[in-house]
Every structure is written in C-alpha cells, then in structure tokens.
C-alpha cells in the first residue's frame, strides 16, 4: 500500500487539535447565527447538537478504524473507483481549499471591521496565508506540537475571560426556556452540527494514518470533540447571558463585543485583544486543518511523492481568491445560512456514511469470500 506518510502523532495531539478545530471554525460568528435561530435556548441547542454529534464522530472514527492505513482521499479512491472517485476527490479538495479561504476571509474581515477599517484586507490575508504556508511546509507533526503549546495558553485565556465576565452576567437572559417550543432549538442544533461537528471529517486525512495505536486515537477524537463542544457551549451561552439573545443575534462578532464588557476593578478592562488572539490562534488551527486536507489530498490524488512542493502555488491561489470568496458581508451571511448546512452535511455525513457502509460490506465480504 502506497504510504508516503511517515509522520507519527500522539493521540493527545489529536485530541487537542480536534477540540481546537471544533471550536475554531466559527467561534466569533456562531453565537449570532445561533441566537437568531434559537433565541435564549442556544445552550439547549448546543447540548442537543453535542449529543447528536457523537453519532457523526462515531462514523468518522469507525471509518478510520476499518481502514487504518488509508486517508480519507484514499478511501474515496478505493471505494468509488478510479473515475467516480477521482471526481469526488476533486470536489473534496476544492471544498477543503474553499473552506480554508473562508477561514482566512473571516479573519481579515474581523480585523478590518474592528481594528483597521481604512486598511485594505489583502496584506492581512497575505500575512495569514504566509504563516499558513510555512506551517504546511513544516508538516503535520510540527503543527500538532505547536497546537499542544498553544492549547495551554488558549484554554487558560478562555476560562479567565469567562470568569471575568461573571459580574456582567444576567441569568434572566436565558429565560423563558423553550418559549416557542422545540423547533427553534432544533434549528440551532442543525447549525451547530454543520459548523462544529461535520468539519471534523477533514481530520480523517490525518487520523487513522498517522497514529500507531488506532484505538487510542479513536478515543482521542471523541475526547477532543467533546472538549471543543464544551468550549463552544460555554462561550455561546456566556454571550447570551451577558448581552441577551436579541442583541447577540443582531451583532456580527458577539464574542468580541462581549469581551469588551469586561471591567473588573478598572484594571482588567479593555482586554478584548486577548479574545482576538484566542480567536486568531483557533482560526489558524482550523485553516491549517482544511488546507492540509486539501493539499495532501491533491498530492495523493496525483500520486505525488511529496505534497510540500504544492504549498506555495496553492498559497498564491488562496491569496487571490481570499478577496472575494465571500463577495461581501450579506453574501457571507446568506451563504452561511443556506449553502453551508447542506454543504457540510454532504461532505460530513453522506460521504463518510457511504464510505463506512462500503467498508463494512468489504469487511464482511472479506471474512466470507463467496
């Protein structure tokens, strides 16, 4: 079996990366869309989404377990054949790169709106992509080790920021519970699953292949997902508790605005730059995961010896498209609400499910050769 990956990662690194990825896709923007759909019941949505998400994670984990020396792209090629598989892989790669660009765009848009409105976004994008390219060039191991280091500081900051918001919390913002019944909660859950659970399918490019102990890494995937989901729960709920769901659904960066409210003893105030650094690191983890999936997938599709050669040309393409991957803000909001759930469900549910079923069939057939 053609195996160009000789990287070795530890399950704990997978756990940390999975949590960062799950938290990092849209932490700054997610509270506002969820508050719009679910109102004050966002915490119920996330809890429900967390529970349902376990099913999806189980699909990814099982798929990896049944094909322990293949990445996701290799699975597609194996089960779908040369031509159909090739087409699906191409779509997968394009999706991965589009999602990377979207992560870059979110970053640039945030900096542009909040910090430097009169500065063009392109240099910001280019800087971000340059660092991304460097991380990709250094390889998965380096990135995962960096994530381990980042994690300690990220998690502490998040907890500290939330503790400092306690004086501003108004628990009555969570009432009334389920005012309009169950449907809004479900809608919120769907959005949550689409944004924070299904992207984890991209980790299947890394997950079974780079680990020696597949069982341990399976557990790590679950643990990482739960940790990320829990962080999501806390941040979104805190946004709503401090600001009220009406206001949260109306603003673009709820987590950032909420952290502007921190004001303890006058000394600990105006520290929203900390939130920004948390978000930038997490966004970087997410962009890296997507980009690695895309570039590595392309290299595997074309049966190349080394994916590193492709990093810079694709980086250039990313930079070019990052400017109008979302034409403008209203396009972004519309795309995120209408196309994204369908898109992530196809990639993150239907595709892995089909592959899983085929893997199981193959395993059964393999045991009883007819």
């Amino acid at each position: 079996m053609h195996r160009m990956v000789k990287t070795k990662l530890s399950p704990r690194q997978l756990m940390i990366l999975a949590s960062g990825f799950s938290f990092g896709t849209t932490p700054l923007v997610l509270p506002s869309s969820m508050a719009k759909l679910a109102g004050p019941d966002v915490w119920l949505s996330i809890l429900f989404g967390m529970a349902t998400g376990m099913l999806f994670i189980w699909i990814y984990a099982k798929l990896g377990e049944l094909n322990p020396d293949k990445t996701f792209v290799e699975d597609i090629k194996l089960y779908f054949g040369k031509w159909a598989g090739g087409l699906v892989v191409v779509l997968f790669i394009i999706s991965a790169l589009v999602l990377t660009d979207q992560a870059v765009w979110y970053m640039g848009d945030f900096i542009h709106t909040e910090f430097v409105p009169d500065f063009p976004v392109l240099p910001i994008h280019v800087l971000f992509i340059a660092v991304l390219a460097f991380a990709l060039w250094c390889g998965v191991e380096t990135m995962y080790r960096t994530t381990e280091l980042l994690f300690a500081f990220l998690f502490t900051f998040i907890i500290v920021a939330i503790l400092m918001l306690i004086p501003n919390m108004k628990p009555e913002n969570l009432l009334p519970v389920m005012e309009k019944g169950v449907p809004p909660v479900l809608k919120g859950s769907i959005l949550y699953i689409a944004s924070c659970v299904l992207p984890l399918v991209f980790l299947n490019m890394v997950y079974p292949v780079c680990f020696e102990n597949v069982k341990e890494s399976k557990k790590a995937l679950f643990k990482g997902y739960l940790l990320g989901a829990f962080t999501n729960l806390i941040t979104v709920t805190v946004c709503v508790i401090v600001m009220g769901s009406n206001l949260v659904s109306n603003i673009r960066f709820p987590m950032f605005i909420t952290s502007k409210e921190i004001n303890i003893f006058v000394i600990f105030s105006r520290i929203e730059a900390v939130t920004f650094s948390i978000w930038m690191s997490v966004s970087f983890i997410s962009a890296f995961s997507y980009a690695y999936a895309g570039i590595f997938g392309l290299a595997q599709l074309l049966k190349m010896k080394n994916y590193k050669i492709l990093v810079l040309p694709i980086g250039l393409l990313l930079a070019v498209y990052s400017l109008n991957i979302y034409t403008n803000t209203s396009y972004q909001i519309k795309w995120d609400m209408t196309v994204w759930p369908l898109f992530s469900f196809t990639l993150g549910f239907i595709l892995p499910l089909v592959l899983l079923i085929m893997s199981i069939i193959r395993k059964i057939k393999g045991k009883n050769p007819i």
């Binding site: 719009k36 759909l37 109102g39 394009i94 999706s95 790169l97 589009v98 660009d101 979207q102 309009k180 809004p184 809608k187 769907i190 959005l191 659904s249 074309l302 049966k303 190349m304 010896k305 080394n306 050669i309 492709l310 810079l312 040309p313 694709i314 250039l316 393409l317 930079a319 070019v320 498209y321 400017l323 109008n324 991957i325 979302y326 034409t327 396009y331 795309w335 609400m337 209408t338 196309v339 759930p341 369908l342 898109f343």
Partner: protein
C-alpha cells in the same frame, strides 16, 4: 500600484521557480514538475487578472449553484424563530 503588484507576483513566482525547479529536475520528478508549474502558472495568471480587476469567479458560487434547488427550503428553515 497595479504594476507594482504584478511585478511583485512575477518576482515571487520567479524566485519560487528558481528555487524549486532545479531540485525537481535533479530528482527527475517530472510529474511534480508538471503539477507545480501548472498550479503556479494558474496562480500567477489569476492574480494578474485580479489586479487588473477582471472578474475571476468565486468558488463559493460553485457550491451555491450545486445546492441552488434546495436554497428556498433552507431560507424558510433558517428564518428567525
């Protein structure tokens, strides 16, 4: 301004080629060379077009088009409340 950007991009592409192509030729990895040159050329062309403000399309539109039949359902599903 536009000229500077185009020059920068060409400079970047040239530097990259100078560094990478001899390496690839030495190891006789022709497939890699092909893919690399193709992608780089694509990137350079697109970025020059972009700086001349020519429309180069939006990949997100591709996916919006794929899922367009279901767009109305999604809109009604994701209405407030």
């Amino acid at each position: 301004m536009v000229l500077i950007v185009i020059l920068l991009i060409l400079g970047f592409a040239a530097t990259l080629s100078i560094v990478e192509i001899p390496k690839l030729l030495r190891t006789k990895s022709y497939k890699e060379l092909c893919v690399f040159s193709l992608l780089l050329a694509l990137g350079v062309v697109l970025s020059i077009l972009k700086s001349l403000e020519v429309e180069i399309g939006n990949p997100s539109d591709l996916f919006a088009w794929i899922y367009s039949p279901l767009e109305d359902i999604m809109e009604s599903l994701t209405k407030k409340g």
